[in-house]
């Protein structure tokens, strides 16, 4: 039982990281109807931003603490938000009127570009992520061990989800985002500046991915330029599982994938863990392609 609880906690920590990445996929899909393949690599860039920022921050905050961790996370989120805006501006915006497949291929190209430029700039060998937030054991009940980092991951995720919910539901730009995802033409006719809203969406999604990158690196401290591929794909699966375009769905999907994967790795075989997400994806697309919380769409001529 304690082992099951342990796996569950580990799974929730992993799942909330996937949920943060999945939100970026789902927001972009909701507005532009395309899969931003490069999103997983923004996650990687977030982790690397943390890697390079930590020694700099150490000059201001000599001892690593939760505060210094949050400062690093905020700066990394800002950096990645800018990168997200730049990518959208130069790679996706010129193609907005083109067929979906053209944009998808471009996104794959951007993703590969970030990965291999990352290998070239940061080096291909995995790097050890510095101790950004000190980890304390919080509870040791029998074989169940809970440390402060797992709590931080859950707390930060929850805080970011609430912040995102506030932005999307209560602010003017959030209303514009919802309008755009409902009907882009009508939104534009109503005086919404679609370019600004789309840039904002990319910034928001990229910032969440950067936060996920740092949380991931704090928990699994070996980072490399290709680290974003698998979490990115799994987060995409999470977005589809929850119903793509649906924000609570993405969060739910992330948690489900994280927990399932950890349980499978713990009880069945750890070598199959990377195939689980895809098996879930194929299953969900066969049984309920619109996802758990999604609405069914019929393609019109």
């Amino acid at each position: 039982m304690t082992e099951f609880l342990q796996q569950l906690i580990n799974g929730l920590a992993l799942g909330s990281i996937l949920a943060l990445i999945a939100l970026g996929y789902t927001m972009v899909y909701g507005i532009l109807r395309f899969i931003n393949f490069a999103h997983g690599d923004i996650f990687m860039l977030g982790a690397f931003a943390g890697f390079y920022l930590t020694p700099k921050i150490a000059k201001i905050f000599p001892t690593p603490s939760i505060l210094s961790g949050l400062v690093v996370m905020a700066i990394a989120m800002a950096i990645c938000a800018i990168i997200g805006i730049v990518i959208e501006r130069f790679a996706y915006r010129p193609l907005r009127q083109n067929p979906k497949l053209t944009v998808l291929i471009t996104a794959i190209g951007v993703s590969l570009f970030l990965e291999y430029t990352g290998q070239f700039v940061f080096g291909a060998a995995p790097k050890r992520f510095p101790e950004l937030i000190p980890s304390y054991p919080i509870a040791n009940i029998g074989s169940l061990s809970l440390n402060s980092n797992q709590i931080i991951v859950l707390a930060v995720t929850l805080a970011l989800l609430l912040a995102l919910r506030f932005i999307v539901l209560k602010t003017k730009i959030g209303a514009a985002m919802r309008a755009l995802s409902f009907n882009p033409e009508a939104a534009a006719l109503m005086g919404i500046n679609t370019d600004v809203v789309i840039s904002f969406t990319f910034a928001l999604g990229s910032a969440l991915a950067a936060a996920a990158g740092i949380l991931f690196a704090v928990n699994y401290p070996a980072i490399d330029p290709l680290m974003g591929i698998l979490p990115g794909l799994k987060a995409f699966v999470a977005a589809v599982l929850g119903g793509i375009g649906n924000l609570p769905g993405a969060a739910l999907g992330g948690l489900i994938i994280g927990v399932t994967e950890t349980l499978v790795a713990g009880y069945i075989s750890s070598t199959y863990r990377d195939a689980i997400a895809f098996a879930i994806l194929i299953l969900i697309l066969l049984v309920k392609p619109s996802g758990l919380l999604g609405k069914k769409e019929i393609e019109k001529v």
């Binding site: 083109n98 998808l104 471009t106 794959i108 190209g109 291999y116 697309l285």
Partner: protein, 326 residues
């Protein structure tokens, strides 16, 4: 390619392959292996072009089909290759065929979910299938798991590589230009309209996957007997992407362009590698070593993709027909 002369082309190409293969031992082995790679990549790119280019489905799992063919053929020749000289003459083409058929079965399995999916969803599902196939091989102790599998016989030669490439080109072209095959293009151009005209879009999509996977499996068999060593990691997402790049660069639904792209993209990394082996050229200081050039192959690939999509989404070599990248 002018289809009227297709049969002549096929016979001519096979005869030429036979003639050239008589001189095979005169070619140095480094060049020979590049030639094998070219032939294998032509088969892969032309078969993927049937799925991605002519039928308008977007598959990102071609390396998975290739892996099925490679492992199947390798296991067969390792098992039966040494019986006697007659058997070994028949066993290689037999193993390639068996690999192709098994890959076709895998293609059927992928084809079935495509009944319901399109566009980017399909791309992700095929990617997922490719990854699942890789993970399965990784867990199969019978074929060496993650450690890899060595292949006893290096039976791949110029004759088999290039005649099979010619057969692939011929069959894919013949299929697409037949009365039946016009359905592929109809499904690509407008699936809803095609269905309304009584074309069974589902059947065409599955057929494209099965035929494409079959040839990918054959290419896999050739690959296995050329490298003589297989690891599941060699059939990852990146391998699929590099085949996709060949199809896109050549122009989707443009066989001639795709063949040219396959040749160029096989030669490009080799040339880059050669360049990188020169320590430093005159005039370039040591602070700027060229050794990284070999490592930027993927950066070049990715930039090529982005720039191509921004400027010429129909592919570099599409001059006459505008094979729209739908």
């Amino acid at each position: 390619m002018n289809f009227k002369y297709a049969k002549t082309f096929l016979l001519g190409a096979i005869a030429l392959c036979f003639l050239v293969s008589l001189f095979e031992n005169k070619i140095n082995s480094y060049r020979l292996f590049i030639l094998y790679d070219i032939g294998i990549n032509i088969i892969l790119a032309v078969s993927l072009n049937l799925i991605n280019g002519y039928t308008g489905q977007f598959s990102l799992g071609h390396a998975g089909f290739m892996a099925v063919g490679a492992y199947a053929a390798a296991v067969i020749t390792n098992q039966f290759g040494e019986l006697n000289s007659f058997v070994s003459g028949v066993i290689f083409p037999g193993a390639l065929l068996a690999g192709g058929l098994l890959a076709a079965v895998a293609g059927l399995l992928v084809g079935i979910p495509t009944l319901r999916l399109r566009g980017d969803y399909l791309a992700i599902v095929t990617l997922g299938f490719g990854e699942i196939i890789r993970v399965i091989f990784q867990n199969m102790e019978r074929v060496g798991g993650a450690r890899g599998l060595s292949i006893t016989h290096g039976w791949t030669n110029l004759f088999w590589t290039f005649s099979l490439a010619a057969v692939t080109i011929y069959l894919v072209t013949a299929l697409v230009h037949s009365t039946y095959g016009r359905g592929f293009i109809a499904v690509r151009d407008d699936e809803i309209a095609a269905s309304a005209m009584g074309i069974n879009a589902t059947k065409y999509k599955v057929t494209a996957f099965v035929v494409g996977a079959f040839f990918a499996g054959i290419a896999g068999g050739l690959y296995a007997h050329s490298k003589q060593f297989l690891t599941p990691g060699g059939f990852g997402f990146m391998e699929s992407i590099s085949i996709v790049v060949m199809v896109i660069l050549g122009g989707m639904g443009n066989t001639t362009g795709v063949i040219i792209a396959a040749i160029l993209l096989t030669l490009l990394p080799e040339e880059l590698r050669r360049l990188s082996s020169i320590e430093h050229l005159p005039g370039i200081t040591k602070e700027f070593p060229l050794s990284w050039i070999g490592n930027i192959r993927m950066i070049i690939y990715s930039l090529l993709l982005v720039v191509l999509m921004l400027t010429r989404p129909q592919g570099i070599f599409a001059f006459r027909k505008s094979a729209s990248a739908k």
